[in-house]
Structures are given as structure tokens and as C-alpha cells.
Amino acid sequence: MKILVCLGNVPDTTTKIKFSGEGTKLDKTGVQWIINPWDELALTRAIELKESGQVPVEVISVLTVGGTDAEPTIRKALAIGADSGYRVDADPADSYQVAFQISEIARQEQFDLILCGIESSDYNGAATGSMLAEILDYPSLSAVSGIHPVNGHLEYTRDIDGGRETVTLDLPAVLIVQKGIAKEPRIPAMRGIMMARQKPLTVKEPGPSAGYTEMISFELPAPKPSCRKIDPDNVRELVNLLQNEAKVL
């Protein structure tokens, strides 16, 4: 089985977000970049599957759409345990454009299982994985919180509102994964970092595609009024405020 894990390159989750160009783009000064958290969990699970030997995994590839500044993300994934990396040399414009670029490589390389995170923690599009599946005309499962090898094939846990289902699906397929898929993301070990340098990283020219949408400006939400403190020995006062001031009880 050939697995592809799609990686987003996003600001560290603790980043204080600022904008430049009169609120038209993210101010990247001082931003630390990380692998999108769900994508990192997807990669971790793919490596676990390969190591377990319960299903035959020949190769795990990772792919990101981005400029040279996205390469550390691919190198990190290779150090964690992916076998090969691709970078499509294009600035991500919107989910559609990114999905289109991934689809070109997915077609060439004929992956059996493609894993994408449920959303990216920057633009929160929650769309790339499912768009990719539609472009490729592959089946997809969304909100996947478990991948289980059973007698040499795979079963999946899919979260539904207020519950979950155990599901099977023919390959090739795209899985859109979320929390639960792996416990903790793996951290690269020294040996992995050394080995990553020998692993292939292929840079591809982008295919012809423009986005369908465009983010034209950003704003920070209005600051909250300061917190009203209530004495711990007077919780009745809190109940009173919730009932009569906030009117939510």
C-alpha cells in the first residue's frame, strides 16, 4: 500500500496573530512554523501502521504546497519517519488550488490511501481533503478518528454528531482525519534527522490552477470587556448575574 500524507505549514498555535498591508495579509515576522497539528497526527498514524506490519505499507510520502520556506516542514516529516517528500512550488491561494496541485501528483503516483487533516489551523478551510477526493473521483470519509487494521485490511472510525460509526470503504480513498487518530504526534529523533537528509524531496512545478476564492482582508475580533470578579463565598451573586444581567439561566 502507498500512503500519502498531505501537510499544511501553519503558524505555531501560540502565535499572536498580526496583519500587515493594512490588514490584507498575515504578518509573518517572528512566526514559528509547524506542521498543521492534525496532519502531524495523520503522519504519526501512518508510521504506526507501517511499523505494525498489520497491513503492508510500502511507502509513506508527504506533500506540501508552498515555497522554499515550507521545506523545513517536509524535512521534519521525513525525520519523523516518512520515506519521501514532495513540494509543489506554488503559493497556496485557496483550498481548491491546493487540492488541485495535490491531485496532479496523486494521479501520477497512484497512492492507495491519502490522509489529510480535518482543517488547517490558519485559514480553517476544512476543505482540502474532500476537494481532493472529488477531483480524483475517490471515495472519502470525513471526521475519521481511528484507522484499524483488521485481518489485513482497514476499518475506520468516523465521528458523527453525538456518536461514532465503524466503517469500511474500498481503496483508493481519501481520509480526512481528526483528533483521536493517534495519541501524541511523534517527535523526530537524532537518527531520524540524520536519515532525513538522504531521503528524496522532489520539487514539482505547479499545474495550471487558480483559486475560486480570495481572502481580501483580516480583522482582529473586538476586545472583550474586563471580567467581573465575584467573591467565592457568594456564588448566589453569580447566579443572580447570570439570570438577570446576562439572562442566560
Binding site: T13, N124, A127, A143, D161, R164, G180, I230
Partner: protein
């Protein structure tokens, strides 16, 4: 031309969020102006379908076929796209929930229609078509323009109020021709019973590592019970297995927008706050007066959650005479 709204059902029933979505679609169609049509897939009784008429939906297309009981993303996408094409729909709206997130992007590709997921309100303008959504998990708002002629929107949960506007409903049964075979096979289903679902809840009672151990969750559950609330937790709490992962709230867990959110023993790390900052009111209880949770809370108590919880339960019981 039309605005098409996909109204999902749960075991044949709609939820409050369905009616919020219906109200949103009705208002959107009025503004364009265009007719609004709902699409229901799976078996829903006529009486239930007619409820959509209370929120301004005059026309419902119902695809009843038993083959479509299971959510198969490819098949559902083809059905919605076929109906949208028949109606020459200009906008399709879905909920920004698990199934909406699974279907809207596929539809976007199939219909060559730009998608904005998780919009928080009506478009700011129609020419050009500009909508607002949250980005950086609630840390910022973005204006997004859709360049394509057809548009797909998913509506963020709890971002639009139900508006009653009663109209007569015409229900039309429809048999799609393009659906294809269902390939998703469900082998087992687990459903939470007797609990309020976190993403539906108006009130959420949440606990963090400051609750110290899983045995201390009794009062959190009791408070949730008397308020008809859902329970939630911070990430380390679900990572430790103190609570199920469904309860994990925050940037990498569930993003919620209840009317009232209680945070007991939660420090208010930026990743946690990202998932709760859209709550209308936040109440924080924490022993540390400098905990960052107080920066986002509306009401705060600096104190021990173990002591505050029983007192709060008593006070609420008293105020609500239970």
C-alpha cells in the same frame, strides 16, 4: 434560480441547528432575491418536513430512498449537485458540522462553485459576493470574496438565530438519476444516549487539569444535568483519559459557540480559548487570579473549583426551585 439548503436529519428528525440554517437560507434568498428550496435526504416524515415552513421554506425536495440511509460522501454530493443543477441554484448552503464539512468541499469541485466554510453571517455584499468567516481558529476574522458564478457556504454553528416566518410548504419527492452506488459500509454504530451533544448545547460545563482527578467530575456532571448542559474538557484531561475524546474542546478538538460556557480549573491556554471564544458568556473558576482564562471570561471566581461547584449547584437549584 434558487438558494438550495441541505437540511440534514438525525434518525428522521431535524434539530434546532437545522432551523437556524433554514432561517439563514430564507433570509439569504430574500436578499438576493431568489426562491429558497430545501433538500432532505433519507426518510423523514411529512409532518417533520413541514416544520421547515415555519422558517420560511416553501418548497422541500425529499429524496427518501432507503439506499441513502448511510452518509456516503460521493453519493450525497451527486444528489445535491443534481438537485442544484435542476433548480439552477446560485447558492447552496449547508451546516458547518461533520457532514456539511464532508460534503460542501466535494460539491464545490463538482459544481465549480467557490466555497467559504464556516461563515458567521449573511454576505456583506452580493456583487462582489463577500462573506465573513473566522480564521486562525477564532483569533481573527477574514473577508472572503467568491469569484465563481455559483457559491457554496457552510454556516458556523450557533451563529444565526432561528427566525419564525410561517409559509405553506410544498413537498416534492425526487428520485435522483446520478447517485451511483453507496460504497461506505457501516458495520457498527455507537450513539451517545441521554446526554446533551456538545456541539448542539446552549450551555457547556467544562473541566480542566485543575479538577485534579477523574473522580472529581461528579459535580461537573451534576451541574450539567440541572442546567440541561453538555460536558466538555481541556485537552490534557482527554489525553489522560479522564474524559472521552469527544469532550476535548479547543483548537485541536471541538470548536463550540454555546450561550454560556463554564470553565472549572482551566488555565485558558491560547489553544483552549480558540475553541470557546465564540461563546456568548464565559464563567471561569480558577485558584490562580492571574490565569489567562480571566482575560476572556465575563464572570470570574478566584477560588477552588471543588468548593465553588457544590455551592453553585445549590444556588442554582434554589434559584430555579428544583
Amino acid at each position: 434560480m434558487a438558494v438550495l439548503v441541505y437540511t440534514e436529519n438525525w434518525d428522521g428528525k431535524f434539530k434546532k441547528s437545522t432551523f437556524e440554517l433554514a432561517s439563514y437560507a430564507t433570509r439569504l434568498a430574500e436578499k438576493i432575491p431568489d426562491q429558497v428550496v430545501a433538500l432532505s435526504i433519507g426518510h423523514v416524515e411529512e409532518e417533520e418536513l413541514k416544520k421547515l415552513g415555519r422558517y420560511g421554506i416553501g418548497k422541500v425536495i425529499s429524496v427518501e430512498d432507503d439506499r441513502f440511509k448511510t452518509l456516503d460522501n460521493q453519493v450525497y454530493t451527486r444528489i445535491i449537485a443534481e438537485v442544484a443543477e435542476n433548480l439552477t441554484a446560485s447558492v447552496v448552503v449547508l451546516a458547518h458540522n461533520n457532514s456539511g464539512k464532508a460534503l460542501a468541499p466535494r460539491l464545490s469541485v463538482r459544481m465549480k462553485a467557490g466555497l467559504v466554510s464556516g461563515t458567521t453571517g449573511l454576505p456583506e455584499s452580493f456583487e462582489p459576493f463577500i462573506v465573513i468567516k473566522k480564521t486562525f481558529t477564532g483569533k481573527a476574522l477574514a473577508k472572503v470574496v467568491i469569484h465563481t458564478a455559483k457559491k457554496i457556504l457552510t454556516l458556523a454553528q450557533n451563529s444565526y438565530q432561528v427566525v419564525e416566518q410561517v409559509v405553506p410548504v410544498e413537498i416534492r419527492k425526487f428520485v435522483p438519476v446520478s447517485a451511483g452506488d453507496v460504497k461506505t459500509v457501516v458495520k457498527e454504530v455507537f450513539k451517545q444516549t441521554g446526554k446533551v451533544i456538545l456541539t448542539d448545547a446552549d450551555i457547556v460545563v467544562s473541566g480542566g487539569r485543575g479538577m485534579k482527578s477523574p473522580e472529581n467530575w461528579g459535580p461537573i456532571e451534576e451541574l450539567a444535568k440541572i442546567l440541561g448542559a453538555a460536558t466538555a474538557c481541556s485537552r490534557p484531561v482527554s489525553d489522560e483519559g479522564w474524559r472521552p475524546h469527544e469532550e476535548h474542546t479547543g483548537q485541536t478538538g471541538k470548536v463550540i459557540a454555546p450561550v454560556l460556557y463554564f470553565a472549572f480549573g482551566i488555565s485558558g491556554a491560547i489553544q483552549h480559548v480558540a475553541g470557546i471564544s465564540s461563546s456568548k458568556f464565559i464563567v471561569a473558576v480558577n485558584t490562580d487570579k492571574d490565569a489567562p482564562i480571566f482575560e476572556v471570561a465575563d464572570y470570574g471566581i478566584v477560588g477552588d473549583a471543588q468548593k465553588v461547584l457544590p455551592a453553585l449547584i445549590e444556588a442554582i437549584k434554589e434559584a430555579k426551585s428544583i
